[in-house]
C-alpha cells in the first residue's frame, strides 16, 4: 500500500509524521500519525499504539497530549490512527458525535450500512500493524496499546482479545463496560445489532472474566471530576471488580480534580509511557 506523507515535524529529536493511505478494511482513505523517536534512525523500536476517543482524529493526540518527550526518551514509535472511517458517505454517519464518524468504537460492524466501512477492530489489530511493520523501523514482537475513553475501551478489548499480542496495556478514563453504559448501548446496537452476545465480545469487563492469557499489567488513570464518570459512562468499578476476581493486575488511579480532557491526559501521559516502556524495553 502506498503511503502518502501529509506532514512531518521534528519534535524532541524525533519526527512526528502524518500519512494517508487507502485502507482495505475501511474502504476509504485513512490518515494516521506516526512518531519516530531518535533511536529509530539506528535501529528498530517497539511500537505503541494510541487509540483516541470520541470525536477525535489523528491530530488530537499528537497536538495535545505532550507525549513526545517521553516517547523520545524511551525510544518508542507511537502510532495514532483516526477513530473511524471518513468520507464514506454513509447516511447518518454524521448525525451524532458519539456514533458514526469519529465514533468507530473499535468494532467490526456487522450491520448495514456500517459493515462495509466500519471495521475499526480489524483495521487496528491487523491492517495497520502490517502497514506499520512494513514501512517503519518497528519490532513486530514488541507492541503495546493504550488509549483514552473510547480508545481506552478499544485498547482494553484489543489486548484482551489478543492475549500475548500486546506486551502491556493502559487507558485514560476508558469505557470499561460499554454493554452497560449509554454510549456502548447506542454504538453496539448500531454496529452490531441487537444480539447482546455479540456485544460482550467487545466489552472489556466481560472479556476479562474469560481472559485465559498471559499476565497483563493494566494501568488506568481516571479523573475524579470526569463528567462522564459521574454520568456512568465509564464504569471502571465493574472492570476492577472483574479484574480483582480474575486476578488480572490492575492499578487504577482515581485522580483528584481531573476531568475527561486532554489536560488530564497530558498530566499522566508520561507515567503511561513509562509503564509501557518497562515492558517494551525489558
Amino acid at each position: 500500500m502506498a503511503l502518502k506523507q501529509i506532514s512531518s515535524n521534528k519534535c524532541f529529536g524525533g519526527l512526528q509524521k502524518v500519512f494517508e493511505h487507502d485502507s482495505v478494511e475501511l474502504n476509504c482513505k485513512m490518515k494516521f500519525a506516526v512518531y519516530l523517536p531518535p533511536k529509530a534512525e539506528t535501529g528498530k523500536c517497539p511500537a505503541l499504539y494510541w487509540l483516541s476517543g470520541l470525536t477525535c482524529t489523528e491530530q488530537n493526540f499528537i497536538s495535545k497530549s505532550g507525549y513526545h518527550q517521553a516517547a523520545s526518551e524511551h525510544g518508542l514509535v507511537v502510532i495514532a490512527p483516526d477513530t473511524s472511517p471518513r468520507g464514506c458517505n454513509i447516511k447518518g454517519e454524521d448525525e451524532s458525535w458519539d456514533f458514526g464518524t469519529g465514533a468507530g468504537f473499535y468494532v467490526d460492524a456487522t450491520e448495514d450500512p456500517w459493515k462495509t466501512n466500519y471495521r475499526m477492530y480489524s483495521y487496528i489489530t491487523e491492517e495497520l500493524p502490517q502497514l506499520i511493520n512494513a514501512n517503519f523501523p518497528v519490532d513486530p514482537q514488541r507492541t503495546s496499546i493504550f488509549g483514552h475513553s473510547m480508545g481506552g475501551h478499544g485498547a482494553l478489548i484489543c489486548a484482551l482479545k489478543n492475549p500475548g499480542k500486546y506486551k502491556s496495556v493502559s487507558a485514560f478514563a476508558p469505557i470499561c463496560n460499554p454493554v452497560l453504559c449509554p454510549w456502548g448501548k447506542k454504538a453496539f446496537s448500531g454496529y452490531l445489532g441487537t444480539d447482546q452476545s455479540k456485544w460482550k465480545a467487545y466489552d472489556a469487563t466481560h472479556l476479562v472474566k474469560s481472559y485465559p492469557g498471559s499476565q497483563l499489567d493494566i494501568l488506568i488513570d481516571q479523573g475524579k471530576e470526569d463528567q462522564f464518570l459521574l454520568d456512568g459512562q465509564l464504569l471502571p468499578d465493574n472492570f476492577i471488580a472483574a479484574c480483582t476476581e480474575k486476578k488480572i493486575p490492575v492499578v487504577f488511579r482515581l485522580q483528584e480534580g481531573y476531568d475527561h480532557s486532554y489536560y488530564f491526559i497530558a498530566t499522566f501521559i508520561t507515567d503511561h509511557i513509562r509503564h509501557h516502556a518497562k515492558y517494551l524495553n525489558a
Binding site: D217, I240, T244, I248, P249, V250, V251, F252, R253, K278
Partner: protein, 704 residues
Amino acid sequence: MEEESGEELGLDRSTPKDFHFYHMDLYDSEDRLQLFPEENTRRRKEVVQAERANESTGAGDGKAQRDLQEEVEELVHLYGLEDDHELGDEFVENMPRMGVSEYPPYGMKRRDPAREQRDWRLSGEATEAEDLGFGGWGSAGQCQDLREVYRYTHGRASEEYECYVIPEEEDEEEAADVFCVTCKTPIRAFQKVFDEHKEHEVIPLNEALESAKDEIHKNMYKLEKQIIDMENFANHLEEVFITVEENFGKQEQNFESHYNEILETLAQKYEEKIQALGEKKKEKVEALYEQLVSCGENLDTCKELMETIEEMCHEEKVDFIKDAVAMADRLGKFLKTKTDVEISTQPDFEDQTLDFSDVEQLMGSINTIPAPSAPVINPQTPNSATGSSVRVCWSLYSDDTVESYQLSYRPVQDSSPGKDQAAPSPPIIKTKEIRSCEEAVLICWESGNLNPVDSYTVELTQAESPEASGVTESVVGIPTCESLVQLQPGQSYVIYVRALNTGGPSTRSEPATVHTIGSYFRLNKDTCHPWLTISQDGLTILRSERSTPTKEPPPSDTHFTRCVAVMGNLIPVRGHHYWEVEVDEHLDYTVGVAFEDVPKQEDLGANCLSWCMRHTFASSRHKYEFLHNRTTPDIRITVPPKKIGILLDYENSKLSFFNVELSQHLYTFSCQPHKFVHPCFSLEKPGCLKIRNGISMPKHVTFY
C-alpha cells in the same frame, strides 16, 4: 736527551762548537721553525697567536744581534711582565704568551696523550720533537742571551780548563832578588839596607817564590775545586732549568687537555691559571737566574783570577812575587766569601689542584631544566591508608617539567610512650547493628576497654581475595565507636576494628562481613512498640495473637505507643535504597519510611513526617492507601501484592512501592526528605512482616 738533540741540530751560527750544550733552537725561533715547518698551520691557535709566533720568529733574528747585556736586562724586565697585552714594544708583542711556548716543551713525547685529547694552544707535534723545548722562555732573544751566558760559563770551564797548569816559572831576572815579607814585595837586596825595609824581614827571593808558589798552588786547588763545583752547580742549574721547563710544560699540557672542551667558558680560566704559573715560573727563574748571574759573576771572578794568576805565572820573578802576594790576598778574600751553592728555589711546582668544580658545574648545567618547585601533598583522604601503607597524592605546578618523584617518609613519633602502657584490648563490633548500602557501611562497636582509648582504626579487606593478596584499607583516627566507610558496590568486605592508645594498637577485633549489595538494615528495637516482637535476626516483626491489654502503653519518645510499629535503622547515606517486605494478603499492615523523630504517638502516615502504604483487608476487599499527612490518593489494586518492594530515591525525592512478583508499580510518592529517613513498619492486626534487604534493585524498579 739534551745531548742527542744537540747533536742532531745543527747550528748555523757562529758559535763555538763547545756551546752545543744547549739546543740552539731552544732560544732561536728560526731554527725551530725549520724543524717544525707545519707547526703554525697545525696549531689551533688564534690567528693573533699565530701572528705572534711568526713575528717572534722574525724578531728572534733581530734579537740575536743585540747586545747581551742589554738583553739580559730586558729579560729581567720582561719576566716581570705578566701579560702580553701589557708589553708595549714590538719585542713584547711578538713574544708569545708566557704559557704558550713557541717551542715545544721538553716533554714533547709525553704530550701525545694530551694532544689526542685536545689540540688547543699548541700543536702537538710531539712525535717529531725529540728536542728540548725550553718553552716559556719568552722571546728568543731571552733564551739566546741566557744561552750565551751559559755557553760562556760552561764551555770554558769544562773544556778549556780541564787541566789547569801553572806554567813553570822562568828564571830569575835582574829584577828583585829578595823578598820582603813584611812588605810582601820583591826588592833588591840592596834595598833592604834602605830605610823602608830596614826592619823588615827579608828572605831570599827563591824562598819567597817557593812559598808563594805553594800558596798559589793550594789556592789553585781550591779554585779548581770551586770551578768544578760551580760547573756542577751550573749543570745542575741547567737541569733545573730543564726540569722547570718540563714541569711547566706538563702543567701546561694538563691544563690544555682539561680546558679544551669548554673553549669559551674556560678561556679565561686557562689564562688565569697559566698566568699564575707563568708568574711562578718567572719568580723561580728569576731567582735561579739571579743565582746564575751571581754564579756567573763568581765564575767571572774566578776566571779572572785564574787569568791573572796565569799571566802572573808568566811574569818576571819580581813582578810575579808582587802580583802573587796581591793575588794571594785576593784569592784569600775571594775564597772566603761564601758561595752559595744551595739552589734557592725548588724546581718542582706544587701540584696544582685543578679546581674544576665550577666548570664542571657549568658543564653539567648546560642542558638542565630548572629544578621543579616542590609539589604540594594533598591532605590525606579517608580510606587511603592501611596498617602498612599510605596512599599519598600530590599536585605539581603546571609549569614544571618532572621526570620522576622521590617520596620519602619517616614515622612520626608521638610524645614518648613514657610509662609502659599496655596496648588496649580489641573492640567488639556490634554486628547486629551494621547498616550498609551499595556505597557505604556504618559500623559501630563497643570499646572493649575500661580505660579510655585514644582512637580506633577500622580495617577492611575485600572478602573475595584471601588475606594474602587483599589490600587492607584502614580508616584511622576514629574518635568515636562508630564509623561510616565508603565502599564499592557489589563487593563483600571483612571488617576489623582496633583500639589505639599510647601503648600501641590492640589486636584485631572479631571480623564482621559486609556485602555491598542493596541496602541492609536492622530493626531498631528501641522504637519497637511493646506489642511487637522482633525476631533474632532482626528481620521479622511479629504481632502476636495474644490478647492485647486494653490500656495503651504510656507515651514515649523512643518507641511507638499508639501505632504498633517499629522502625529500621537505615544507613544515613543518600542514594538509592531498596528493600522488600513479605506480607500476607489478609494482613493489615503499613509499610513505608519516616523521619527518626516521627511522632510515636501517631499512626504512620498520619503526619508529614512519614510516607507509607497501608493495606487494609476488610469485607473481603483489599483497600490500599498511600498515606502522607493523612491524605491518600484513590488507588485500586486488583491483585494484592504478597511482596512489596520499596524504593527510596533520595536523588529524585521519590518513594515508590511495587508488587515485586508482578513487577508492577503501585505508587510513587514525591517526597522531599530533608533529613535521612528510616523504614517503618506497623501491624494493625496480629500477623507478621518479613523484611528482606541486602538485595539489589530489580530491573523493573529501575524504570522508576
